[in-house]
């Protein structure tokens, strides 16, 4: 059977199983198993544990359960609520204020971690309930956190740049530096999109009825020291060279417990509940993440993305056209592949063409990472979408997707701006 036929069967199987309501991880798994079997027979299935193990036994993923633990403590004590109360009273005149604040929080989180699912899960855990409590549209609440969580990839530190730097033989330091302004730009664009959206459709994010007095605003500030302390603990240990970003997640989790204990908000029952839901959330996220790798493995094995990207290399087109087509292919491949595979497979093939067309490899790294940010929020394999569904089961996946997909256009706009004004990325590194 040829690889295109196998690929089609894999997609049909996955689609069919998802529609009847099979868990995503199992649908990904069974579709991949079918593909592996058709490609290499029954013995080819023995590779599965090895792929799953490789996916999970990864040091940089340790931050996922630990940051989720931190978010869980914040959500179940008053730490997270008081932070959102502050946003609420200060931003109550701003259309979509809390959603905008969630994007901001995600950007700050992005400076602490390079893992996008950690961003979506941690911020989402306390941000989404706060937004829903104030009658925000569920899709808006879920979609904006799913999209903004991906800022962790672009804002340094970022695992994606470390990987791209090695593949592209580019300075990791320069990549980090080049990403600073695009990261801020994208954050700003996401906020701007939310502002415009809520201006047009105010019912999606109702404003507080009453006017908030200045005294109330200043009073709210008093209660956010625990959140500030925690953020400082994590950022401080990273930027003063005390801990790696991965270790900082452990410090964040322990710090959250200590602060909650100091505020006398911890009980044995609460701790038990926090641990249980952290395990449940982490378990479902990590399992989907691992199953997505099976999907990526069989697609790679069938050489589908390599062939698709290879087609771009053969096009005889002017530079900008090559870039535009490459970008399109990146988006399509990003729908199905995890971001590590996207970077590993496309960089060696695309970069030489892009450089030959006169583009800067550091700049292209930034573009590549923004494309990865799109990949985590595009179905069918969009981890951040599933993460949000996992931590906010009351929102349907359809709502989350509808809420998140417009952000792909925002990311697209960011890429267009960076293409017209490449110096936004490059002026600090030149």
């Amino acid at each position: 059977m040829d690889s295109t036929t196998i690929f089609t069967l894999i997609l049909l199987t996955f689609g069919g199983l998802v529609v009847v309501g099979a868990p995503i991880f199992a649908a990904l798994g069974v579709a991949s198993i079918l593909g592996m079997f058709l490609q290499g027979g029954i013995n080819a299935l023995n590779v599965i544990p090895s792929i799953l193990h490789r996916g999970l036994a990864s040091y940089s993923l340790i931050c996922i359960p630990l940051f989720i633990l931190m978010g869980e403590v914040m959500a179940r004590t008053s730490i997270g609520g008081k932070l959102y109360n502050l946003f609420y009273v200060w931003l109550n005149r701003l259309p979509g204020g809390l959603a905008i604040a969630s994007v901001g929080s995600s950007a700050v989180f992005g400076a602490m971690s390079g893992v996008s699912v950690a961003g979506a899960a941690t911020i989402g855990r306390f941000a989404i309930p706060e937004m829903l409590k104030r009658n925000y549209d569920p899709g808006l609440a879920g979609g904006s956190v799913a999209a903004a969580g991906s800022l962790a990839l672009l804002i340094p530190p970022s695992i994606g740049f470390v990987l791209y730097g090695e593949m592209a033989e580019q300075s990791i330091g320069k990549l980090f530096t080049a990403a600073i302004f695009p990261g801020l730009l994208l954050t700003g664009l996401m906020m701007g999109y939310l502002y415009v959206l809520i201006k047009a459709k105010p019912h999606m994010a109702p404003r507080g009825a009453s006017r908030v007095s200045a005294a109330e605003r200043w009073a709210a500030l008093k209660y956010i020291w625990p959140a500030c302390l925690m953020i400082l603990a994590v950022l401080g240990t990273i930027y003063f060279g005390i801990a790696t970003p991965t270790e900082a997640s452990g410090i964040g989790a322990l710090g959250a417990f200590l602060i909650a204990a100091f505020m006398r908000e911890l009980s044995v029952k609460l701790v038990v509940g926090i641990l249980r839901s952290t395990i449940v959330t982490s378990g479902m996220i990590l399992l989907i993440l691992a199953a997505a790798l099976l999907f990526g493995y069989i697609m790679t094995r069938l050489m589908i993305p390599q062939k698709v990207i290879g087609l771009v290399a053969e096009l005889n087109q002017p530079g900008w056209m090559v870039f535009a087509i490459s970008l399109l292919f990146l988006i399509v491949i990003g729908m199905f592949l995890d971001i590590v595979s996207v970077i590993l497979i496309t960089t060696p093939i695309l970069l030489p063409i892009i450089v030959a067309a006169g583009y800067d490899p550091i700049w292209f790294g930034v573009i590549m990472i923004i494309a990865c940010e799109m990949a985590v929020i595009t179905p069918p394999v969009g981890l951040n979408l599933y993460v949000i569904k996992g931590i906010a089961p009351q929102i349907t996946l359809g709502e989350i997707i509808r809420g998140a997909v417009p952000f792909v256009l925002v990311q697209m706009l960011c890429i267009i701006i960076l293409t017209v004004f490449p110096s936004i990325a490059l002026w600090l590194v030149r």
């Binding site: 099979a22 868990p23 995503i24 395990i279 990590l286 996992g390």
Partner: protein, 166 residues
């Protein structure tokens, strides 16, 4: 206790174990920082041990996650379908989990056996026999099979009481 409670009991034990390991993971991560930064005696093993803990946590939890119905899925069929169609959708969905986890048990067992036979060990000073971390795959998938089998008989709409537990 009836025999039908055993799958749930096993998953419950596993999830408790995972919770303990999560606390250990947090402790080791912080210890690694303290040992290096304050005691000036960095741990040689922290990093590697942490990755195995993550593996263990992931696999030990998945049975319980399924019991709580928290594995992410699209809710089209459960909400839009009625009667027999809904039942069939439920069975197909459960069969998907069952099939996937059976393959994991089978392949996981093979890999564990190979790792023992060929003496696969991690290349660090710890020299961890790799059958141990690999072993969590068939264990986790086995728990998933047990839970999935009990769910086959339950009605598609009924949520286990565990959902409300905490």
């Amino acid at each position: 206790m009836s025999i039908s409670r055993i799958p749930v009991l096993l998953s419950r034990i596993a999830v408790h174990l995972a919770e303990i390991l999560l606390v250990v993971l947090m402790a080791i991560t912080v210890y690694a920082v303290v040992a290096r930064y304050l005691l000036n005696a960095p741990s040689l093993y922290a990093m590697e041990v942490c990755t195995y803990l993550l593996v263990a946590i992931s696999w030990l939890s998945i049975g319980w996650v399924h019991y709580e119905d928290r594995h992410i899925s699209v809710e089209f069929a459960p909400t839009k379908l009625k009667g027999m169609a809904k039942k069939i959708a439920h069975w197909v969905s459960e069969a998907t989990v069952l099939f996937f986890s059976s393959v994991l048990v089978w392949a996981g067992y093979n890999v564990v056996q190979t790792a023992i036979e060929k003496g696969y060990k991690s290349p660090s000073l710890l020299k961890v026999p790799l059958w141990i971390p690999y072993g969590f795959i068939p264990i986790g998938a086995g728990l998933l099979i047990l839970i999935s089998l009990t769910k086959f008989r339950s009605k598609p709409t009924s949520l286990p009481e565990a959902n409300r537990e905490i």
